[in-house]
């Protein structure tokens, strides 16, 4: 098995996959990548299945040493990655040899980056996922962000497979998300729409809101036109979906993200749609947003489009290198042109 060693930490480097499902009824959040699209893309580029784990980095990246040959890709925010101090492109499968050093700088654009490795990060799963949930100290390595000296275990692929992955063409530009610091977020209104004045709903959809620095993987606090409630600002605590826009008594919205508490007691004016969550994950403090109401059917067709897009990428690339299991044994199969 290959692995990497952490030589220097970034601001917050955590192991994340697509999240921990089925435990919110017990108060355990789903966690997972904030910008799940970028992690999915990274996994596709290195030939992984969508559910493999990678490393999420925040604002400033780490310095890592490879302890074996592997292939990796960097996606998401622009962190100016270098391999042995030579600049390398993002969104490409890059071959790393033993003792190579990968370094990620400070993000020029965006907030979060993802490093995906061929074969995935192979830290132990807890409750079906490798995602780090720091407050509950689960997932990752002992429930913690990466520390200096940590050895992160990686899956291993045969050398020929690695080389084959790096020979692929670059992915088409339209797969690469455009990162902006002013975004339009589409929302589905409610479920507590009746708890707000009509004025509040129209203000919410009209004015610009700003992301404050009091934001993290649990929630993003916004500042802007305060939103007033039609009656009390307390509801009976209820389950929270990803992207729920809660409004406490002070009238400033909070958008609930992947490490959110599983239940909340403030009325929700709206919920950001799934395909727009990555835009929020990449927004920096000071970034601005406007909200636009859409219908559930519109949101669903956008989810279907994005799924087909990722799937087409996976199919196109899966045709050169894949893994098969026969009689319980795993084999890597590489198809080469002759």
């Amino acid at each position: 098995m290959s692995s990497i060693e952490v030589l220097r930490r970034g601001l917050l480097d955590t192991i994340q996959d697509q999240g921990r499902l089925g435990y919110q009824q017990f108060g355990i959040p789903c966690s997972g990548a904030m910008d799940n699209y970028s992690l999915l893309l990274g996994n596709s580029i290195v030939g992984n299945s969508p559910d493999e784990a990678g490393i999420e980095i925040t604002m400033t990246g780490p310095r890592l040493r490879f302890r074996g040959d592997t292939v990796f890709s960097v996606t998401g925010g622009t962190f100016s990655p270098t391999l042995n101090e030579i600049q390398i492109p993002m969104y490409r499968a890059i071959l790393a040899k033993k003792d190579d050093i990968l370094e990620l700088g400070t993000a020029l654009q965006g907030m979060r980056g993802y490093i995906a490795f061929g074969g995935g990060v192979q830290s132990p799963k807890q409750m079906g996922s490798r995602s780090t949930y720091m407050l509950g100290r689960i997932g990752g390595l002992g429930g913690n962000p990466l520390q200096i000296g940590d050895i992160v275990p990686l899956g291993s692929l045969p050398y020929k497979h690695l080389v084959c992955l790096t020979k692929r063409n670059a992915i088409a530009n339209d797969f690469i998300p455009v990162i902006e610091d002013e975004v339009i977020l589409r929302v589905i209104l409610g479920p507590e729409l009746e708890r707000f004045t009509e004025q509040a709903v129209s203000n919410f959809l009209r004015y610009e809101y700003c992301l404050t620095s009091q934001s993290n993987r649990m929630g993003l606090r916004l500042a802007g036109e305060p939103l007033s409630h039609s009656r009390s600002a307390d509801i009976l605590s209820a389950g929270l979906s990803l992207g729920a826009v809660q409004v406490p008594g002070h009238g400033q919205p909070i958008i609930m993200m992947v490490d959110r508490q599983t239940t909340g007691g403030y009325p929700r004016i709206a919920n950001v749609i799934s395909v727009d969550i990555p835009k929020l994950a990449q927004l920096r403090p000071g970034g601005r947003m406007r909200f636009q109401a859409v219908d559930v059917r519109v949101a669903h067709s956008l989810i279907a489009q994005e799924d087909q897009k990722i799937d087409s990428l996976r199919r196109a690339w899966g045709s050169t290198a894949y893994q098969v299991t026969m009689d319980g044994q795993r084999f890597s199969v590489v198809v080469e042109e002759i």
């Binding site: 017990f26 509950g136 209820a238 389950g239 669903h300």
Partner: protein, 217 residues
């Protein structure tokens, strides 16, 4: 008059089924009965089923089912679940050390209510509290049934750290902290039981539909 249940979108992957807006066993029973029905009828269709006081949040995959179809199905499921007999509540005993180092606010709660600390202990440990829901942090139970004679406002200044296992009162609620965390509850005691232990299966001690009894030790 609102008619219940109500069905509302919670984003594009969630649907909330709401019952009457009150904290009551009869309402919470409907939520838990619907959850139990869905888990038994279609355990693989839903990503998450999150019960709360009076609502069930159903998280689904829109690539497999449309909102309209899901709503129609949940209508039917509510009808079916209504006919089921409520599950008997399982009693969980919480051995509790009241007062002292790990119950620093016991005397405050007593004097606030013009009672002795012994009265507070007697009243608090005389009731079986239903677990309406788990939320907020891993394994945190929302308990019903606190006797109003020992209700007490939150501390004006929250503590930076309350140790896991602390038992507190806030307003007309009582609860147990599963993790070390900051908080403003009046702490009256402590249990050595672990409400959340990731290495254990299941990781959480309590679940909705349990009855909690605090027993002084």
């Amino acid at each position: 008059m609102e008619s219940y249940p109500r069905f509302l979108p919670s984003g594009d992957c969630g649907l909330v089924v709401e019952f009457e807006e009150e904290i009551a066993r009869t309402v919470n029973d409907k939520v838990l009965a619907l959850q139990a029905y869905l888990m038994q009828a279609n355990p693989r269709v839903f990503r998450e089923l999150i019960p709360s006081y009076r609502a069930l949040l159903v998280e689904y995959d829109p690539l497999y089912i449309t909102y309209q179809k899901l709503e129609a199905y949940l209508h039917h499921a509510c009808e079916q679940a209504r006919n089921s007999t409520p599950q008997p509540l399982e009693l969980i005993i919480i051995p509790t050390v009241y007062g002292g180092e790990f119950g620093a606010d016991l005397s405050f709660v007593a004097s606030y209510n013009s009672l002795t600390p012994e009265d507070v202990i007697a009243i608090h440990s005389s009731v079986d509290y239903p677990v309406y829901m788990i939320g907020f942090t891993p394994g945190f139970p929302y308990l019903g049934g606190l006797d109003s004679r020992i209700a007490c406002p939150r501390r004006a200044t929250p503590r930076m750290k309350i140790v896991a296992g602390s038992i507190g009162i806030a307003g007309n609620q009582t609860g147990i902290y599963p993790l070390d965390s900051p908080g403003g509850w009046q702490i009256i005691g402590h249990t050595s039981l672990q409400l959340f232990s990731p290495e254990r299966e299941p990781a959480v001690l309590l679940r909705p539909g349990n009855l909690v009894r605090f027993v002084p030790v």
